[in-house]
Amino acid sequence: MSAAARETGALMSVRRISPKLLVWMVFGVLAILCLVLRDDAKWLVKYPKDWILPIEAGLEYLMDWFTAYFKPIFRLLSDALEWPMKGIQFVLQTSPWPVTIAIVAIIAYAAKGWRLALFCIASLFYMVVVGYWDESMSTLALVCMSVPLSIMIGLVMGLLGFQFRWARRVIEPTLDVMQTVPTFAYLIPILILFGIGPVVGMVASAIYASPPMVRNLMLGLQRVPDNVIESGQMSGCNGFQLLFMVRIPAAMHTIMIGVNQTIMAALAMVIIAAIIGGFADIGWEVLSTMRKAQTGQSLLAGLVIVLIAMMMDRISRGFAERSGEIHVHRSGNYFARHPMLVSMATAIVAGSLLAWAVPVFNAYPDAWIIYPAEGLNTAVSWFTRNFFDTTDAIKTYTLYFFMLPMKAGLERIARPTSWGFEMTALASVIYWMILIAIGSLAARLGGWRAVVAVALLGILFYYGASGTPWPVFIAAVTLIAFQVGGWKVALFSFLGMLFMLVSGAWPRAMLSFYLTATSVIICFVAGGALGIWAAQNDRVSAVLRPINDTLQTMPLFVFLIPVVMVFLVGDFSALLAIIMYAIVPAIRYTEHGIRHVDPVAIEAARMMGCTERQILWKVKLPLAIPEIMVGLNQVVMFALAMLVIAALVGTKGLGQWVYDSLTNARFGQGVIAGGSMALMAMIADRIIQAWAASKKRDLGLST
């Protein structure tokens, strides 16, 4: 080969570098520069205090101004809402418990049959016997008030959004934001405007729980088949009749699914609100006992929440399923046609008489309460004592080898006591050498994109989320956003991160990022593996499905109980709680994606002589990737939602900041922290969605 030829060859290869890779090379140079300079220029890692804009003060000022004028209105509203609520509370708490149980059982029977009725009787009886009846009824009263409010808000918004395009343009982005703003953040403005009290919980949950109703209503109405609507029009319906006699009834099933989701969200928010407000409520009972390390008590109370959630979910889902079903036409007189009303009336009369005759049925005597907290405590402490070595080892290993490096960086974590060596210059050279080796392996397997991914993870692991210079971090995320989603997504991500930076939320955001990233990685790997297994094995799938269903309906708060019991408060417990909750979509979407790969493609592969393993890796997984990405997106959203709740067990970061602003009624801080979390969620959402969409396009799965 002549020199000239070699030269043109070299030129050719330079030309062949894609512009995308070139950008990353520029980024690499910048990153190295930042990392080298960071000891001299401290501001690269630690964003200086003087540069923080007075956003918080501005927000406080705005809120002060607003409350000065509008507070009386809200207080009035609060009073107006308080009366019906007190009424319901009074009714639920004073009516004899057998009456309440009977009525719930009758509703459950109507929804799903006698199995569910029995389950409800047993659950409610448990609440009576354990002595949490009043607390449970107070939670139930709040839910009973906020759900109708939510549904009303949902109906109005959904109908507006359905009828008018301008309304839809406002409502849809609002819903997106509402569903990413962390639960606690809802409470801050409401708390300030309505003052402390149970009404806050009610209003907050009514607002918080309305998005699924709005969404399902709009979706359901849009999905009514054209010919059903046309047949309504040809029957001579006017607009009103068309909506209420054709569209809404035909969309009933979807709407009822919305109601189910609304009820579950309302319950979750009611419990959170009670925790913040500290009312005599079951959520508060759990938190206070948990903080006092009374494991037995918090387990008993936590079980109440679990049971309430399961009852509400099953009953409302039962009605949703039934709404698509066939009604049985009953004939006969009024009583024969309305068996449910009749049996309820009977239950009320008979129960009241019974309660009047036998006092035990009116108020369950304290002396009869069975409260096996001590026994549970003993059991739990026996467990923790006997398995301490194991649990502690798990915790320590995960912390030292994975979580802490991600948080503070390997350079600061590596000590002879944990990693077995000091972070000398030699050690770090070895680290980078290993990384380069992995990188070249990645290059062979996945091209330059894999190298970039390895390099980014390597930097993160070495310097930690809090040790990485912010310009490097922002540039990396913006670049990724640009390459997968174009300049709009990039601009959004950049501005979002800029907001976190200049509002002073950056260090905490990085702590949240670290915890989220860590748990998302674990969820994705473990959940993906479980999902693949479930997709290949029906028995595994049958075992996992009910577990996933149950995990998904629990109010987030419940997840904290078992982890705190075994691992005490701290980052590791938070991590476990997040994983327990956020692993569900990883499992579900992976399984669903793999199971629903076009069977023709699989058959073709089989005819080509692929083994089952090859079919999985070469056909099913690549084709399932868009679906798996949707799952990944959900994992991130779930993790962030749980992150806020995890603040209750002492994590640091944005979640804790939101919680803190809530307890100190600091509006500005709350908005910045809550907004930053929402921004994190939205940035992740946009990037992953764009990525999934481009993958889908590559695979030719979308139109």
Binding site: V228, S231, G232, M234, S235, G236, H327
Partner: protein, 353 residues
């Protein structure tokens, strides 16, 4: 072209256009769609990224006739029938019902017309899933605010008419396709409409049931004498049911005529594609090929008798057969020669007729 002018016109569709696309209106400055160069405009529309779903469609529907619109999938049949009921707003043109321009009437008036004058049957039935058979059939009456007893009585009558008695309390999903379409038919007839639209009512049914439903439909029409616009993509179905057929292609009407006219004188190659496999003996009637001279014979057939029915008489030795009109007067004659040439080649007979 519309032939029989002596009958009273119920519904007229005049230069109707429906263009889908972002700026559909820009092609028509004046509201009426009577353009000089139809073909040119169609090209312009299609090249600009718009879809001309119906282009310059004109026809009359006479009182009491079954007017069938036939065409392949996507040819614009549904679009046209929806323009006639204003489920779709035409982009240009006129739809005249009983002498009144339907496109100019107010919303309320339109609702009133739909409530009392029109009935429609849909391809995929369009039943309301949350209502029972009885409630579905009675729905148009309920909309009008008619009392429960009355609408029940009316609906039961209709259910009986379509042979679904005993299934009143069933729900749509519990019924077979044929049964569901009977419900659709009963519902559309419940308000005693003068004008009856059927958009591919039998296409979703399997062939045996379809045949049965066609007979049922003809029986109903004998009883009710509605003015009917019937859509189908099945040429044989069109021939069986139609008094007159309009054949559509790419949004335009290529031919309108009686079944025999279409079979014997297809307007172009597109139409003759359809007519090739048609059993002519079942379509062509004595009236279609009769000459006007009055023969000296006692052999008489009705002008509506098909060749299939007449041929045995020639086989039995007849040379010439007289043709009588509906009223009984002898109007002409046919010979075996004539029958043979009608069956052999349509153009030959066409020229002779």
């Amino acid at each position: 072209m519309t032939g029989t002018d002596d009958q009273e016109v119920k519904l007229t569709c005049r230069h109707v256009w429906k263009v889908y696309g972002p700026e559909a209106d820009r092609f028509f400055t004046a509201g009426n769609g009577d353009v000089a160069d139809t073909a040119g405009l169609v090209d312009t529309i299609n090249q600009s990224g718009h879809i001309g779903a119906a282009c310059d469609v004109s026809f009359d529907v006479h009182i009491g006739e079954i007017f069938v619109i036939m065409g392949l999938s996507g040819s614009g049949k549904s679009t046209i029938v929806r323009c006639l009921s204003r489920l779709v707003e035409p982009t240009a043109g006129e739809v005249i019902l009983d002498g009144e321009d339907l496109l100019q009437v107010s919303r309320d008036k339109l609702i009133d017309i739909r409530r009392h004058k029109m009935g429609m049957v849909f391809q995929n039935f369009g039943l309301l899933p949350h209502l029972s058979v009885l409630e579905n059939v009675a729905f148009p009456l309920q909309i009008q605010g008619i009392s429960k007893e009355e609408r029940r009585a009316r609906a039961m009558e209709m259910i009986d008419l379509v042979g679904l008695s005993g299934r009143e309390t069933s729900y749509p999903r519990q019924l077979s396709g044929g049964q569901q379409q009977r419900v659709g038919i009963a519902r559309s007839l419940c308000v005693e409409p003068e004008l009856w639209f059927l958009d591919e009512p039998f296409s979703a049914l399997d062939p045996l049931i379809r045949r049965q439903m066609q007979d049922e439909f003809l029986r109903l029409q004998q009883l009710l004498h509605k003015t009917i616009v019937f859509i189908t993509h099945d040429f044989l179905e069109a021939l069986r049911l139609a008094d007159r057929i309009a054949i559509m292609k790419d949004g335009r009407i290529v031919q309108i005529g009686t079944p025999a006219e279409v079979v014997m004188q297809p307007a172009d190659d597109y139409v003759s594609e359809f007519t090739q496999d048609v059993p002519r003996v079942k379509v062509i009637t004595a009236g279609d090929i009769a000459t006007s001279d009055v023969p000296q014979t006692d052999d008489v057939v009705d002008e509506h008798a098909t060749l299939e029915e007449i041929m045995p008489r020639f086989a039995g030795g007849a040379d010439v057969i007289a043709v009588k009109s509906g009223e009984g007067a002898i109007v002409g004659s046919i010979t075996a020669q004539k029958v043979l040439s009608a069956l052999a080649d349509s153009h030959a007979t066409g020229d002779a007729a």
